[in-house]
Each structure stands twice: as C-alpha cells, then as structure tokens.
C-alpha cells in the first residue's frame, strides 16, 4: 500500500493542475486511486474492460456494457487514472461547484448539461450525435431482455421518437433530448455523494 500512496502523491500534483478536480478533496482522490488500484488486477496503471466486468454489481446491470464503454475514449481499450477520474467527475453533485467559482474554468464536467450529455451518449451507440430508431431499439432490448416482444418494443421506440422529435428527422438530437427531460431532476439522479 505504500507504493500506492507515493504514486498518488505525484498524481495529486498532476491532477491539481486540472481545474475540474480542484474541488475534489485530497482524501477523495486518494480513495478513488486506491479503488482504481484494486480494480487494476494487471497492475499496469490502466483498466481494461475485463477489469470493470469483474465487479458483480456492474456485470448484472442491464446497461453495464454501455456504462463501461463510457470510460473508454473512441477506439481505445485501456483507461488510465486521469480518464477514470474524468468520467467519474460527471457524477459530482452540482452543489460542490459553489465552492469553486472560477470564471475562466468554462463549463464544469458535472453541470446539468454535461450530465445529460453523458446519458445521451449511453443511447447514441455510433456517436453520431443522434439517437436513431435502431439505436433506441438496441438499448431498449438491453434493458428488457427477452421479456417484451419485438413488435411491442418497436411501438415503444416509435412513440418515444414521435414525442421527442421536433424537426421531423425521425431521430432524437441532443437539444431535443434536453427538451424532453427538462422537468427531470437530473442533478439529483446523476450525482454520487461522498460520505466523508
């Protein structure tokens, strides 16, 4: 464990440079690094998809594979600690931002908009910034398994697109997505609170 700690010292210095983590406390970063290290069975400083799938609660989550995918940038299959923290930063509670009003920092990763973008990308399988009927069907199929028929699922997808689509291109863009969910308390549903 001493190895873990001395490495984390250097990483902390690196991370402090990135403003999006400056509101995260020392102990939280250490804890997350400890967690990263315990998941990294290969001990090569990066996590692979198999490392994530070893978590039973994630493996039984119907959208487990989509969530795991969110950690890996396009075309890569290893994520380092910085990438790990960057993805987790989306789930910081919004109140934390009150402590750190930096006018030059731009939009923080855990803003309402970015949380919605994270969820949008879970649906958008081919990353073309549109949720097509096919993509919606595939995600729905992941969530319901074999318990609902193709026809019913198809009609659910059609209805959802009909309600959301305002420009008539039979797919949901990010702005249409935001509009549909404007009444939902995204900040509360997509936030993870540290106990200490």
């Amino acid at each position: 464990m001493i190895v873990v700690l001395s490495r984390s010292m250097t990483i902390l210095l690196l991370l402090k440079v990135f403003f999006c983590f400056s509101a995260v406390s020392h102990s939280q970063i250490t804890r997350l690094y400890s967690r990263f290290h315990s998941l990294d069975k290969g001990e090569n400083g990066a996590l692979s998809r198999e490392d994530f799938q070893r978590i039973p609660e994630l493996a039984i989550n119907p959208l487990g594979d989509r969530i795991i995918n969110a950690f890996f940038p396009e075309g890569e299959d290893q994520v380092n600690f910085r990438g790990f923290m960057r993805t987790l930063a989306h789930f910081r509670p919004v109140e934390d931002n009150e402590k750190n009003k930096d006018p030059n920092s731009g939009e923080p990763l855990n803003s309402r908009n970015n949380k919605l973008l994270f969820a949008f990308r879970l649906y958008d399988l081919d990353r073309d910034d549109k949720i097509s009927r096919d993509e919606l069907l595939q995600v729905l199929r992941m969530m319901v398994g074999v318990n609902i028929s193709d026809e019913q699922l198809g009609s659910i997808a059609d209805r959802t697109i009909q309600e959301a689509d305002t420009n008539g291109d039979m797919s949901i863009s990010f702005s249409e997505f935001i509009k549909v969910l404007e009444k939902v308390d995204v900040e509360q549903k997509m936030s993870i609170r540290f106990l200490h």
């Binding site: 039973p56 609660e57 493996a59 039984i60 074999v146 549903k189």
Partner: protein, 466 residues
C-alpha cells in the same frame, strides 16, 4: 593470537549453552506445560493490553504529525465511501410513473436510464463484493508496514518504535513461534500414530481427544492467539455438524483447540498428507480424494453416514467454500444443510487491530501466509457458539442455510451478503442480469387487466443453466 581468543571462545560457548537451556526451560514452563494441561498464566492477555496502548499512542502521534503539516490523515472506511440510495431500483423507476392508474400501454421514459447509469457508476466507485476479497483496511496503525497508509506522517520517535517492533517480531517472536509450531505439529503426528495402534474403544477415543486438544493448544500458542470463547454451553455435540464463517486456515486451529471435531477436506500430498493420515489413525476424519469432491451424492452420503453414527465427533464445515475477509458472511453452499441433522453455528470474528488474519489465496501461498501470521503481533479473536438449529417444516435447504447465515452474521457483527464467495474467481451468473431485465419489463408493462402472453423472440441463450 590463538591463546588470546581461547578464553573468549570458551566463554562464548558457555554463554550460548546457558542461554539455550534457559530458553528451552522458559519455553517449557510457560508455554508447553500450560498447553498440555489447558491452563493459562495470562501472559498473552497482558501482552495484548500493552500492545493496544502502544498502538493508540502511535495513531495519536500520526494524527498530531498530520495536523502540524495541515493535512488530513487517510482514514479508511470499510462501511462504504459513498452515499447509496436506500430505495430499490424498482421503486426508483416506479416513482416516475406514479399516476396510480395502470397504463393501457407500456410507458417508457427516457429518464429511466439515469437510475441504471448511476447505480452502475456507484458500483464502480464502491461495490459490496470485490472489497471482501482483499484485506480489511485498519483505522489505527499497528506498527506493521504492511498496513500503513500515512507513511509520510511518521516522526523519528515512531520510526524508532517501529524499528524496535521489527526487532522484537523477527528476532524474538518468530523463532519462538516456529519452534512451537514444529513442536505442536510433530507431537500431533507422533501421538496420533501411537494412539492409532490401540484397539478401538473408550480408551482410544479419550486419549485421542486429549492428544488432539494438547497439540492444537500448542499451535494456538505458536500463533500467539488470544481467543475468547462465548456461550460454551452451546458447544457442538456428537451427531451434528458445526458450521462457521471462514477467514483463514487458522479457523480450524482456533475451533479445534476448544473441542474435538471431525475434519472434512481434500487429501493433500506432502507434509499435509502426512498429518492427515496420522490424524485419521486416531479418530475418524473425512478426507476426500480430488475426484470424489465433484460427486455431490458421494459427499452427501459420507457426511450423512458419519453423522448417523453417534459415537463419531461432530463434523466441522465451512459452507462459504472460500476465505472471506471477515467483514461479511457470503452465501452458504447448501450441501451441508441438506443432510437433515442438527446444525451448530459458530461465529468467528478477528480483531483487526492486531493483524489481519485473512488469507488472500490469490496473492500469497500457504507458507508465505503462515510466516506473515507468525511475524505479526498476534491473533486476537472471539468465538461465539450459537444455539443449535434444525431445519423447519416447509423450509428448503437454501432457506435454512440463509437463516443460519443470518444468525452467524448478526452475532459476529458481520454484513450478511447474498453474493457467492465463488465470485472471487468466477464470473457472476447471467441469471441475475436476466432478473433485473425482467423487473424492468414488469415496470414498463405495468399491471394491466388484459395482459396477454407476448410471443417472445427465440434466442439461443434463452435460459442459462443455474
């Protein structure tokens, strides 16, 4: 030159001779003889109390050091580091639809994904299962480098103390313990082989009991284990099965030094095999060949035969099947609960302040683990004998197993988990994911009068073997 060294040479030999004799006499008087008779001078408890005082001082010193540098001490929290939702996933998704009227058509809400997503990420940050397979993190420092996370807050005085600790542990305690361990095991093999020559009868079984107890007590002292037994009136009796939570191979020594059990296990080669064969000569244990372990009926039959014979000792079984880190109790395998005899549950809880007894078999081998144990301060644990339980009417083996598990978890102050300890090495079964999908489908469809069975798309992996 030679005459110059000669008197010192003789003096040195004499000193060595005296110190060895002294060493062995002390060993005999203070450790082996009490072990033989089952009495205790209370030396170990005194040792434990003084150690605790030193650890408290060490932790306070580190906290002071941290405050001076205006930093925070890293404090591990094994009860969870993030706040998790108390409602179930199903309730969370239902809340969005709380209109009271069952919908005629399935209602899908794009926000459903948030609940799945957040729970997924929560399990990435902190999950209930994977942390049970590594050593528990301690809140106070016990002067062992293997369990320190605040290394940079240590002062000179603390380093000196730690150095003294290393000296004491490796130069004094370790050789002492190794000697005792060899004595204990050696005596066990020799005595049980001798007793095995006697004809079966009352004399043989009572002698065998005494021999086993004596040797296990020596082994307990070899680990400097300070054990507190609670509720000894519930000790397991003949014709029953004793079940306990499993943290390390030491569990066997701890239980067997207070009562006699028939062990169950696989036949090993080498030293273990010698010990197993010797033990078998004195009283009936149940050792399985590697091939027989897979055959569940054979295993069940041998266990039931043993239990039916009231002259044979109670069987000791660890239903978790693997070592867990003593913060929780994981799924009990139902095999031993199907036999239909009285079950005597036992809860074992180790005090983490003195050293971690958990055997992480993927990281350390057995010899490495034993050396770790013998070079740490000692093992402090509590054993609770719970009242015997029987399977009730209308209860199947799995429900009975869960009931016993809950009782053990409650008594030992451990978390009661439904997850399988086998997840240490294997992947989780697909059926659990299918259950989640089924639950979500039910919520989508809602409860409606005219629900008709849907023609389901046939896929090749429709139902997994459980």
């Amino acid at each position: 030159m030679e005459s110059y060294l000669f008197p010192f040479d003789g003096l040195l030999c004499m000193l060595l001779g005296i110190s060895f004799t002294l060493w062995f006499t002390l060993l005999l008087i203070f450790i082996i003889v009490p072990a033989v008779f089952g009495v205790s001078f209370g030396i170990r408890r005194l040792y434990m109390k003084s150690l605790l005082k030193i650890f408290e001082w060490a932790t306070l010193r580190m906290e002071r050091g941290a405050r001076e540098k205006n930093q925070q001490l890293y404090k591990p929290y094994s009860n969870g580091i993030i706040a998790k939702e108390l409602v179930s996933l199903e309730q969370e998704i239902q809340e969005v639809r709380r209109s009271g009227i069952p919908a005629p058509e399935p209602e899908f809400d794009m926000s459903d994904i948030f609940s799945f997503c957040r729970r997924g990420v929560e399990s990435i940050v902190d999950d209930e299962v994977t942390k049970r397979f590594t050593a528990e993190e301690l809140e106070s420092w016990n002067l062992l480098t293997r369990s320190n996370y605040n290394f940079h807050h240590i002062s000179t005085r603390l380093t000196v103390l730690w150095g003294v600790g290393v000296l004491v542990r490796y130069a004094i305690l370790l050789p002492l313990r190794v000697t005792l361990a060899f004595t204990g095991v050696g005596l066990l093999v020799v005595l049980t082989s001798l007793i095995g020559l006697l004809p079966n009868g009352w004399v043989k079984s009572s002698l065998s009991e005494k021999a086993h107890l004596m040797c296990y007590r020596i082994c307990v002292r070899a680990l400097t284990a300070i054990i507190t037994y609670h509720d000894s009136e519930n000790k397991p009796k003949n014709g029953g099965i004793c079940v306990a939570n499993h943290t390390s191979p030491i569990d066997v020594i701890i239980l067997a030094s207070d009562g006699c059990y028939a062990m169950v296990g696989q036949v090993h080669g080498g030293l273990m095999g010698v010990i197993q064969r010797a033990m078998l000569k004195a009283c009936p244990h149940i050792w399985f060949e590697r091939s027989e372990v897979k055959d569940r009926h054979l295993v069940a039959k041998r266990l039931s035969d043993h239990v039916a014979d009231k002259t044979k000792l109670p069987i000791l079984i660890f239903p978790e099947g693997t070592c867990i880190n003593n913060t929780s109790v994981m799924m009990f395998k139902k095999g031993s609960f199907e036999i239909g005899c009285t079950v005597y549950p036992v809860a074992i809880k180790y005090d983490p302040r003195f050293g971690d007894a958990f055997w992480n078999s993927s990281k350390f081998g057995m010899v490495n683990y034993l050396l770790h144990m013998m070079s740490s301060w000692g093992v402090v644990c509590s054993v609770w004998y719970l009242p015997p339980m029987r399977r009730e009417e209308g209860e199947d083996a799995v429900q009975f197993a869960n009931r016993v598990k809950a009782a053990i978890a409650r008594k030992g102050g451990l978390a009661d988990l439904l997850w399988d300890g086998g997840l240490k090495r294997e992947k989780v079964k697909k059926v659990f994911k299918e259950e989640q999908q089924k639950m979500y489908s039910k919520v989508l469809v809602g409860v409606s009068e005219d629900s008709r069975p849907f023609p389901v798309r046939r896929t090749s992996h429709n139902r997994q073997q459980v």
